[in-house]
Symmetry: none
Subunit: 219 residues, 2 copies
Amino acid sequence: MPKTKPGYYAVRKGRKPGIYLTWKEYESQVKGFSDAKYQRFSLKTDAENFINDKKETTNSFCLGNGTKEAKAGIGVFYGDKDLRNLSERLSGEQQTNNRAEIYAVIRAIESCENKKKSLEIFTDSLHVINIIREWIEKWEKNGYMTSNNKPVRNQDLIRKLKKLIDSRIGSVKLTHVHGHQGNYGNEQADKLSKIGSFKDEIIEKDEKLENEISIRSDL
Amino acid sequence: MPKTKPGYYAVRKGRKPGIYLTWKEYESQVKGFSDAKYQRFSLKTDAENFINDKKETTNSFCLGNGTKEAKAGIGVFYGDKDLRNLSERLSGEQQTNNRAEIYAVIRAIESCENKKKSLEIFTDSLHVINIIREWIEKWEKNGYMTSNNKPVRNQDLIRKLKKLIDSRIGSVKLTHVHGHQGNYGNEQADKLSKIGSFKDEIIEKDEKLENEISIRSDL
RNA sequence: CGACACCCACUCCU
DNA sequence: AGGAGTGGGTGTCG
């Protein structure tokens, strides 16, 4: 509840600039951390701030570089003061920008439980858009091989994304927005993704269990 | 002579990053443009900067893609502050990477007028190296046919290159270097080739004349 | 099928 | 000033 500096809310100490939100931004956008280590202040959750079912737009971003110690996170932004906004850490060994971009879209879709609703998801990753709009069709036929005759990367996430889209009754439209062009949703989702990258890894229980004991397979 | 921005020299306006050299690089490597349209500033040519006859190493590169509007250029790099460095536009209709790679080696050899001198030319094109080291021998016998029984492409340049090598007294050694592995000469020649690709096409008078009126044939 | 190169696009970073 | 993550394509030969 208290602010560290007037107008600023530090998510975690000892970080570079750019990973801070103003208190107002934080209050309005972050859904609340479940991990105690990073939840330095709890989020005021006014019931009246919950906005249900308006036209849904989402956006995704990731932080993390091409190095060994990369930490990727994803952000999903519905709108200011919208409690559906997400901010999560990417799981798994491979922490890359593209994995995060794909995963962000997955979480965006999952975050809308009403399968009849049509979604429009904004992303700055033409990579993700091309996967869905063009490449995946060929890959489903040729066993996920690139034109270079190498296995497509991040197949696990791509297949999951495909299933997710197919499982919906409403349409899922992906729209490209340019990064760093002053797009508001894009910028906000970027902040959320940075917060997400600080959180500890989320272990995907289903996958783990499926690998260790092939018992569970509830979709 | 004047710099557009401190530390930078714009070869041509309205281009993406990557086709700019720092002023220092430009000053030390480019031999000077002959085409007025691109010669925005003249090069200071200190006589004392001329380095004559040290062990000669060269390198070639090209810019241009596999499309209709491709523009290929070649670069030959002897060393920093070496006025023998070249930066030229590829001539002719077919602007392809491989034509440029071959032509770059041709210009590299031509640029050394002392025929007794042994040359070592570095190129990242295994294609060119294979042509000279392996394939050309067979082609001279079978009339330049590929194993697919189709005419070898870029025969004009390949034959010219062969003649050039044979005409020399000193040896011509081709050595492969991997691109994008931090090889200095390779990177510098790459920059030169990009500059070259902006220049207007050089019409090869000899070839034109030989095609239109079969009169001239002075080698 | 293999090899080398050339490019195009978007993003992520340092 | 630099690199990595990812896909699509062509130029050329064996």
